[in-house]
Symmetry: C2
Subunit: 241 residues, 2 copies
């Protein structure tokens, strides 16, 4: 049996047997979602947080007049709405891009953890802080880079996030994201995403066949994207005492 939350938190600090058991217990309730299905509705007040075990998801915001902004792409191992533990009603929604299996972690269990497991609490807190760090970098790409740089940056980011969960090999990975969704994430129209992708392809930086993305020239892609992976804090360590 595979315990994604254990694996994820262990990236940031060692876990005791007891702690591992706690994490296994609170992630034992799992649910299956269909592609496009809502996992958490915008504005709702869930009593649990959703941990993605398999599949791809998105987090999104709608402006009152209906324009959509995708604020995060989620891969297996991501806690899509850990923030709904303390923040409710939540103002963003979570949806499945592909079929997803999701563990529903009751907020009551999270509260118990804050009472009895300060170290686990800090680890969970850290996960939400990394989320914020990624948000800030996305803000920087949205505000200060052009569409081409933003896309290149994202492809670099996704590669580094998929690696730890074994979903990226040889710099290629499954990318089940439509051009419309890319547009909604990176602040451009679908049409423009299409043209930028063609650009990246014709420059030999990437290849995309169907839903597979191949990075042909990682160095150059990272360079043009001004990509520096530190903000992902993949190996941020926390001390127990």
């Amino acid at each position: 049996m595979f315990y994604p939350l254990v694996r994820r938190l262990e990236q940031h600090g060692p876990l005791s047997e007891e702690e591992k058991q706690v994490l296994q217990r609170i992630t034992s309730r799992t649910v299956l979602y269909q592609p496009r299905e809502d996992i958490v509705r915008e504005g709702s007040t869930p009593s649990y947080s959703s941990l993605i075990l398999s599949g791809f998801g998105i987090r999104y915001n709608h402006s009152p007049d209906g324009r959509r902004q995708i604020t995060a792409f989620h891969v297996p191992g991501d806690f899509a709405d850990l923030h709904s533990f303390l923040l409710n009603p939540i103002d963003d929604g979570v949806a499945a891009l592909t079929a997803c299996t999701v563990a529903q972690v009751p907020h009551s269990d999270l509260k118990e953890i804050t009472k009895n497991y300060p170290y686990l609490t800090r680890l969970l807190w850290l996960i939400t802080l990394i989320d914020g760090a990624v948000h800030r970098v996305w803000m920087t790409t949205l505000g200060r880079m052009d569409a081409r740089e933003r896309l290149a940056h994202f492809f670099c980011e996704l590669r580094d996030r998929l690696q730890p969960v074994g979903l990226s090999n040889d710099d290629s990975y499954e990318l089940p994201i439509t051009q419309q969704e890319l547009g909604d994430a990176f602040g451009t129209s679908t049409v423009h995403i299409n043209r930028v992708l063609q650009d990246l392809r014709s420059d030999g930086l990437i290849t995309s066949r169907g839903k597979t993305l191949i990075i042909n020239d990682l160095r150059r892609l990272q360079e043009q994207a001004q990509y520096a992976p530190g903000y992902l804090h993949l190996y941020q360590r926390i001390e127990r005492d």
Copy 2:
């Protein structure tokens, strides 16, 4: 004596006498910063987090080639880099816009709180989560709104954030932010900020005299900005048990 952190956290749940004393103790070390001075350097690893007691600050990111994105404006009562408690080195910097008095809260004290005061821990965690919620809305304005809407949105947001700390009266407040800084925050050039401001002024939505901003028609400003203040979670309540 005035304890900004107590006041801030009390917005989200009642505090016991003991808890108040803890908060007072950990915010007792204060420092004064000059305008433009760095409060936290980008990429550094501070051993304390900075709580702004008076003055305005910004948080910012630089892309490797030097373009700057301002990711947050901070007002009195804001914990500018509470996330540096667990996230280090931090990838964003904090700087003073005006003269600032700042309380430096040692990370060791924060760690003690996570061990002994789970309720305070959740309150502090909440603050960082609200930060994230604001980030997401900024992403939405950056990605999906034009410069005029973004500025209007920000003026509405700042009004609602200054109200609780008594810095906004009659829908007017001090705005010690240059057009260059507004540009760096909202993803446009300084020149364009200037033109958009003139637009908002000539439409009778705002008046700005020197560093004072007056909102002349709040309804219409909020409407055009599609402003919905829920994301600030100003009165988000958390339960003790």
